[in-house]
């Protein structure tokens, strides 16, 4: 490679990674206790343990300290102290993330936003909610319900996950095919940069002068700023929703039916697929009434006015029949609709019920490659000797293969990890991406080397430096260094060829 395109000082980055600095704890704790009430700083080992991992528990390390500020002024003071002392800061919401994005930095402060848990305002006329980042996703819709409004993005973890975490990951959910991701439903952010200065991006008006830093900040995994307030768009709750459930005797046919629904000009509010292993795992658990004889089932939801839903459901049924559905059922009541969904929403816990451990993947591929991907996953199951059950946000091509393993069995996690990396690599080959909605975190750093060139990764670091010049916010996450990718390339020789032969080798 020629001259590095962006001025990125990676040595500094590695220093942060390397510094153990447990001996710094008393000094940093004292600095934080000088600006926070003493119950807002945790430093005892047993107090730190609950924070040592997020929803991806295979990656864990206790933080040096936990700070729990209650106000923006306190939060700014924490950032100023960390900046002054050059201590890394990792933000954490509800800790439900699935990519290790909130895994602590061993020599850093874990900044919990749990106490930023107030809904500041619901404006039913402008149809917005101004909330603090620690507010739970579902709590927003609950508060807006009195006005016939709701917040559309609904990640499966919505009873627990926080809005701040949703912003950090650009979370999706079952309904984002029609209603968009977090990005499409956040109007504005207020936050603080590492120097403790407040910053406002976007807002209640739709135009903002300058570059779209709001879009850039959503999904930035805590690397750019700490969010203190979020302005959310609320939508009128649809009058009616109905789900069509269809069985298929072949996963390829189910995949074709998905493409055919879209090609017919229908955008269902949700379009999900589960394979036989997934339905078999959830059915005894939730009794959703799934067809256990089917190779795959599809769930397609239509919402809107009763007239609109009737029209769309009929159209969906026609397409499903024409594409070989072996059985079709339409929810006849709200209770039945929720029952149809219950299996899909409980797929992860069901995996946990049938297997000691599971590893959830999150790649996205073009819809028309679903069949190809499923066949490849089947081969990988043999290759790694591990089973995999598949649930997909089929409408947008986002896959959640759940690799089943037993962490107590020697080498099983390593096999699951390689199995997952293989799936992600295939996602990239098929024209997709390594993460649709869970984020890169620490988990997919190596896969980032496969998806992006050194120059592209340097551009990401340039963005990081523009927001966070000292590189203290969530360091080591989301973007792999050149050195790490070189190392991964060395370990990962495929077909006798190194990926990215243009990488410098050290």
């Amino acid at each position: 490679m020629s001259v590095p395109e962006f001025d990125v000082d990676e040595s500094r980055w590695s220093d942060l990674q390397a510094a153990p600095a447990a001996e710094r704890r008393p000094a940093v704790a004292a600095a934080l206790r000088a600006v926070l009430p003493s119950d807002c700083v945790l430093s005892a080992d047993e107090e730190l343990r609950p924070y040592e991992c997020d929803g991806l528990s295979v990656f864990r390390t206790p933080p040096m300290l936990v700070a729990l500020p209650r106000t923006e002024a306190e939060l700014r003071a924490v950032l100023r102290e960390c900046n002054r002392l050059q201590v890394p800061v990792v933000a954490r919401g509800a800790g439900t993330g699935l990519s290790g994005g909130a895994m602590p930095h061993a020599a850093g402060v874990l900044l919990s936003l749990a106490r930023f848990n107030r809904i500041l305002q619901i404006d039913p006329v402008a149809r917005t909610a101004r909330v603090q980042p620690g507010v739970r996703n579902l709590a927003v819709s609950e508060a807006a319900a009195a006005y016939g409004l709701y917040y559309a993005p609904d990640p499966s973890s919505q009873i627990a996950c926080s809005i701040g975490g949703n912003v950090a990951e650009n979370s999706g959910g079952v309904h984002c095919l029609k209603y968009g991701l977090t990005l499409h439903n956040v109007l504005g952010l207020r936050g603080c940069t590492i120097d403790g200065e407040p910053i406002e991006l976007g807002g209640g008006a739709l135009d903002t002068p300058g570059l779209d830093l709001l879009a850039l900040s959503i999904g930035s995994e805590g690397l750019l700023l700490i969010v203190t307030e979020v302005l959310l768009k609320l939508l009128p709750r649809p009058q009616l929703a109905q789900v069509v459930m269809a069985s298929f005797d072949d996963v390829g046919k189910a995949g074709e039916a998905v493409a055919a629904i879209i090609a017919a000009g229908i955008i269902p509010s949700g379009l999900e697929m589960m394979d036989r292993k997934a339905t078999a795992a959830v059915e005894p658990f939730v009794k959703a009434g799934y067809d256990l004889g089917a190779a795959a089932i599809l769930l397609a939801e239509s919402d809107g006015t009763p007239e609109e839903v009737a029209e769309e459901v009929a159209a969906i049924e026609r397409v499903l029949q024409a594409h070989g559905a072996t059985a079709i059922a339409v929810s006849g009541s709200e209770a039945e609709r929720l029952r149809f969904w219950s299996g899909r929403k409980n797929a992860f816990p069901a995996a946990g019920r049938i297997s000691p451990d599971y590893y959830c993947m999150d790649g996205t591929i073009p819809r028309n490659r679903l069949g190809h991907m499923l066949k490849a996953i089947e081969q990988m199951e043999h290759k790694y000797g591990l089973a995999c059950m598949n649930v997909f946000h089929a409408g947008d091509g986002n896959l959640h293969p759940l690799i089943l393993f037993d962490a107590n069995s020697v080498g099983a996690w390593e096999r699951a990890d390689r199995f997952g990396a293989d799936i992600l690599e295939l996602c990239v080959q098929l024209g997709g991406t390594i993460t649709g909605e869970h984020g890169v975190g620490v988990e997919k750093l190596n896969s980032m080397c496969v998806q992006f060139s050194p120059a592209e990764r340097a551009a990401f670091f340039a963005v990081k430096r523009a927001f966070d010049p000292p590189g203290l916010l969530n360091p080591g996450k989301a973007i792999p260094t050149l050195a790490r990718c070189a190392e991964y390339g060395r370990m990962h020789v495929r077909h006798g060829q190194l990926p990215h032969a243009d990488l410098p080798r050290f």
Binding site: S2, E5, F6, D7, A126, R127, T128, Y147, G148, E169, N170, G172, L181, L183, T193, E197, I199, E200, G203, G204, A205, L206, D207, P209, G210, L211, D212, L213, A215, L216, G219, L224, P238, Q239, I262, G304, T305, E307, E308, T364, P366, R367, H393, G397, G432, I434, E437, G439, V440, M448, A455, E456, R457, A459, F460, A462, V463, K464, A466, I479
Partner: protein, 356 residues
Amino acid sequence: MDSMDAALQQLRHRVMDADGAGAALRLRGAGTKDFYGEHCHGALLDLRGYHGVVDYEPSELVITARCGTALSEVQSLLLQHQQFLAFEPPAFGGDPTIGGVIASGLSGPRRFQAGAARDFVLGAVLLSAQGELLHFGGKVIKNVAGFDLARLLCGSLGILGAITEVSLKVMPLPRMEQTLFLETAAPEALALFNRWGGEPLPISATVWNAGRAWVRLSGAPAAVRAARARLGGELLDDAEALALWNSLRDQTHPFFSQAGGLWRVSVPSSAAPLATSAAQLIEWGGALRWCAGDSSAAQMRALARSAGGSALHWRGGSSGSRFDALSPAVFEIHRRLKSRFDPRGIFNPGRLVAGL
């Protein structure tokens, strides 16, 4: 090497030469938005030579096109499959390039319901100051790998580099559209727009001007008919309705050709009517308020700010900066982004932010 490869190589060399010499470039497609943004100087870099649709799979709802592709070409291809760009990009009476559409990030009447241009950007290729082609985002709807630089480029007016290719999410055409018309004063119209916005109605565009309001309904025929019964008003015939919304999108509507300055005031939809004597046209359910006349910049900016938004000097009138000033913290991030992506300041200097 085919002709498009050659065109791309040529662009790369123009950029690398300019970077080597530290000479400014003015990136341009069809020039339909030459009026837009701050004044900017530099040698013209015409991006129309790199054109053509690269990939379009209707069932994937994604189209990928090179920057110089004419918007009309994209639109007619989509129309063959009953699809469209739901953000309704303005053509301003010409035929813009898709690169210019995304670099400007402007959206038409459907913006408040369907989303803005940036909401439909899935991926972009950036030609950097060093002549490298950087791919951000991709061709799939859900993608959170890496910072969202593809969407950052939307509306960047070329200050970070040249967009050479974009992938956009497309949508099926609504099966039915109807436009209703009613006579009402501005405050009542704003109240109606905001009240209807909180109900599950298929409203896809609104406009108010000079005592009259128009509302467009889009969607399933059953939903459109039910909404029409609910909202009342008079039905406009289809040809008239199409002409109306196109004239608003492209600003060929007579309101936009008045003498004097034209201000684009962006405020929350529920903001009270602006206290100005300027003639007004209100779009986006109340969120976009055009003001025509010779109001002073200070007055317009103060009005917009007190209503919780910003004012953009769109065209005509006196000189002075077009966009509202950025806060110091936001400006500083802009400055650092610009200095890292375009260290020698060759791309559209000053077009989006004075001094950058």
